[in-house]
Amino acid sequence: MNLPEPSAGLPILSILIFAPLIAAAVALLLPAGRAVWWWTLFATSAVALFSLSLLFGFDSSTAEFQFVEHRAWIPLLGMEYALGIDGISLLLVLLTTLITPFCVLASWTSVTLRTREFMVCMLIMQTAMTGVFTALDFVLFFIFWESMLIPMSILIGVWGGAGRVYAAIKFFIYTMAGSVLLIVAIIALRLETGTFSIPALMDQPYDRAFQLWIFGAFFISFAIKVPMFPFHTWLPHAHVQAPTAGSVLLASILLKMGTYGFLRFCLPITPLATVELAPFILWLSIIAIVYGGLAALAQSDLKKIVAYSSVGHMGFATLGIFSLVQNGTVGGALVMINHGVTTGALFIAVGILYERLHTRDLAKTAGVGKHMPVFAFFLGMFCLSSLAFPGTNSFIGEFLVLGGAFEVSLTLAIAAVPGVVIAAAYNLRILQRVAYGGTNNPDHSAVADLGLREILLLTPFLVFILWIGLQPAPFIGIMEASIENILEIISRAGS
């Protein structure tokens, strides 16, 4: 596939990438304190609104990259500044731009020290995340991909909980170790084809051995990011120790970068290797689903439960993606979005609880539902979404994934079903304890219910949970053509 001609008009993607960076520079000049918070909220909201303009110009009937920008960058090394989005990246870009303002909103009370530096880190993160989902030059992609490490580790390491340093360093080393092989693969691809352009690298007749090596390098770095079992061990620490906004960014967007990597690179660049290795990855996904669920069931720390549930949910995403059938892969991509919404919401809810009780222990939070009915309502809805209750977003996603798994093999699908049951178990356990648990011990009668800011913060998540759950067609429609195109590449390579 060749890169389409650059689109005329405003360079929307560049604006989306660099506006947060400019906002960060302005934030550095502002006096510390609330002003920075308001400014960041304003800037990220403005970016979010502006990003919606992508929806108007987007043609979802084609798999071509759109809003393409294309400039010389470092000709001597063969790099270009190339941006563009297809259906898959569009949803992820929107997820990024829409989630970030809520992360800012969620930090009103939880981040009081060094607010300015915190917000600067958040804004740099947004730049890097948007860049990852829009870059069409492999080196540009890698630069955004790796730039995220520094601000994210600092978010965890400076504003995190008691074990923050260990978590931050583990996160950094894990991700870095994963991505060094990616860079070797990128160089190898360039030497093979003479280009870093991602569309040009897709659908090329590389020989099988080369594909297997490249796939291996891709897989390690993306699997660590997802994280897939057995590369998931950094995740619980990072999630638990990160401040609420950090956890949300991590769960909603960073993990998606791994699955996005699978969809964007593994499948279309190394189709032969994908087909050959997909069975192993499917079983790894099943292990992740069951293991993540069981591990979540065994935790008593609310944040840990949500963290391990992420492992399970992302297992569904990879299960769907590597089923390599239309339903499954679309489902996998939808699970990515759903997980972004639901788990983000759950982390914010847990954060709200922690701010009031200063504990996340399931036993000590028991029974707050009686004194916080509004909170209990939101938490209940989010938990239902997390267990894939019909009518919520996750139901659609996981249903499609399981459908895809059935098409691949009956054993596979049956093996995935316990995962669904376990998800119900740990989510209902949260709900039962927190909302309905022992009402007198401990005494929570002094705890205040949600304020207006918090309701504003949680409502949009609920809206999306129900919207995707009841009317998924527009969301699926956006990415259908792109996924169809990827699967065509795979079937062409296989034949």
Partner: protein, 483 residues
């Protein structure tokens, strides 16, 4: 625009200014204790050289009977040397760790050394080259010995002697190798020598000659096993002196290696293997030993050995892409190491060595210094968007292009090892609260330091994201190195 016949005076303008600066500084050393004046003269000289380089940027001339060439390539390097010089002077500030009565001499010797570096950029004759090289080295031996003597640390003399002994031995080996090259070609003019070496480059004698000649540059770059002086000298020399030793000579030695390695082509396998083995040795030795360090300067010393290894990957390729990458990396490295030493000299009280633990709470004491450290250290670790990443990337590309997959894989393995000790520095500066008895007063930076920090951050990021102009000039002018 290139003159048809630029006058010798004009083409040599940066060097004239440098020499004038050295003379004025010499004059200042004659009267008593004019430290401030010496500092200002140094800064003015550095800035003057930089401006003169910009003015003569497009001049092309071969002067002094073919011994000295001025072209865009040499001007780029002179510019970097001049900027590095200014950086070193700002870092040195009031030389708090140098004996009080000889501070003006310090500035004088530093300027002399820099003159040597600047002359190296243009020397294309073995004789001028050796003279320039020794001119740049000898003052450094003295600078190390000029550290203030305290009862707690008396290692500066040991360091100076070590550095000098190794240096002289390496120079001896170099001269021996140059003897071979001269014997083979009958000329001391580098372009001619490289050209005449072409037909015989595959003979053992030529390879021995080139390798032995390179020994002196391996020593300066601290390539394993020529590195033994590095950690001790880093530790024994004062902070500001280490900043100089760790930055300018590295770039100079890469430049000189290119001058000689340019005689070979990728077909000269023996030479490529020599480079590859030295690269692997340096990377592993430097990185593994750096893991165990507690003194920040010593850590940087070992990391310098590792970085010498990375740089050598560019030479393994033995062609333009690799040479460009090596030079680009060394240039980037100069700025990264200056960033680290800016922080060291400012955090260190009264100029003593700095343990990594002393960085605790730096982000509260001085956000700007902490940011400078962050950028410098992460660039050393090879994290984008900094120059350390783009430099490593171009080095790896060059290595892989010539089929050295094993070398590239070992190199990326090493970057992962290295991340650990770089993170220890970040850990101390950002994630650790200082102990009770530690000094937690905010650090006040003078305007010069503030500007230097901002310039270094901009240079490290800028060279990483927009290296185009630099790479292209260097790449285009490498034809002047290769026949």
């Amino acid at each position: 625009m290139p003159d048809a016949q630029p006058s010798v005076f004009f083409a040599f303008l940066p060097e004239w200014i440098m020499l004038a600066g050295v003379l004025v500084l010499f004059g200042l050393t004659l009267s008593s204790n004019r430290v401030r004046a010496a500092r200002w003269v140094s800064l003015a000289t550095g800035a003057g050289v930089a401006l003169a380089v910009l003015a003569t940027f497009n001049v092309e001339a071969v002067i002094f009977d073919g011994a000295y060439r001025v072209d865009t390539f040499s001007q780029w390097l002179k510019l970097v040397f001049a900027l590095g010089y200014v950086g070193c002077v700002v870092i040195g500030h009031n030389l708090k760790d140098i004996r009080g009565d000889i501070r003006p001499e310090y500035f004088f010797l530093l300027a002399t050394s820099v003159t040597g570096f600047i002359l190296l950029a243009g020397s294309i004759d073995l004789i001028t080259l050796v003279v320039a090289l020794e001119l740049s080295s000898f003052p450094l031996f003295l600078l190390i010995a000029m550290r203030r003597e305290t009862t707690a640390q008396r290692s500066q003399m040991e360091s100076a002697v070590k550095f000098m002994m190794f240096g002289i031995a390496a120079s001896g080996v170099m001269l021996f190798g140059m003897g071979y090259l001269y014997g083979l070609t009958g000329t001391t003019s580098l372009p001619l020598l490289v050209e005449r070496l072409q037909p015989v480059i595959h003979t053992p004698l030529a390879i021995a000659g080139v390798t032995l000649t390179l020994a002196a540059f391996f020593y300066k770059l601290a390539v394993f096993p020529f590195h033994f002086w590095t950690p001790d000298v880093y530790q024994g020399a004062s902070n500001e002196t280490t900043a100089i030793i760790g930055s300018l000579p590295k770039l100079a030695s890469v430049l000189l290696m290119l001058r000689f390695a340019g005689a070979a082509d990728p077909g000269v396998h023996t030479l490529a293997v020599v480079f590859a083995v030295l690269a692997v040795g340096s990377m592993f030795y430097g990185n593994l030993l750096a893991l165990a360090q507690t003194d920040f300067k010593r850590l940087l010393g070992f990391s310098a050995i590792a970085h010498a290894g990375y740089t050598l990957i560019g030479l393994v390729a033995l062609e333009e892409t690799g040479f460009t990458a090596a030079l680009y990396y060394a240039t980037g490295y100069l700025f990264m190491i200056l960033a680290c030493f800016t922080v060291i000299t400012r955090v260190s009280r009264d100029g003593t060595n700095l343990a990594i633990a002393d960085l605790a709470g730096l982000h509260k004491r001085s956000p700007l210094l902490a940011a400078t450290l962050l950028v410098g250290v992460f660039s050393l670790a090879g994290i984008p968007p900094f120059v350390g990443f783009m430099g490593k990337f171009s080095l790896l590309t060059a290595g892989l292009q010539q089929g050295f997959l094993w070398l590239v894989l070992l190199a990326v393995l090493n970057t992962v090892i290295a991340v650990y000790y770089y993170l220890r520095v970040i850990h101390a500066a950002f994630f650790t609260d200082p102990p009770q008895d530690a000094d937690t007063t905010p650090l006040r930076l003078d305007p010069a330091t503030t500007v230097l920090c901002l310039v270094l951050i901009a240079a490290i990021t800028g060279l990483g994201l927009i290296p185009g102009p630099f790479l292209e000039t260097v790449n285009a002018s490498l034809s002047s190195i290769r026949p």
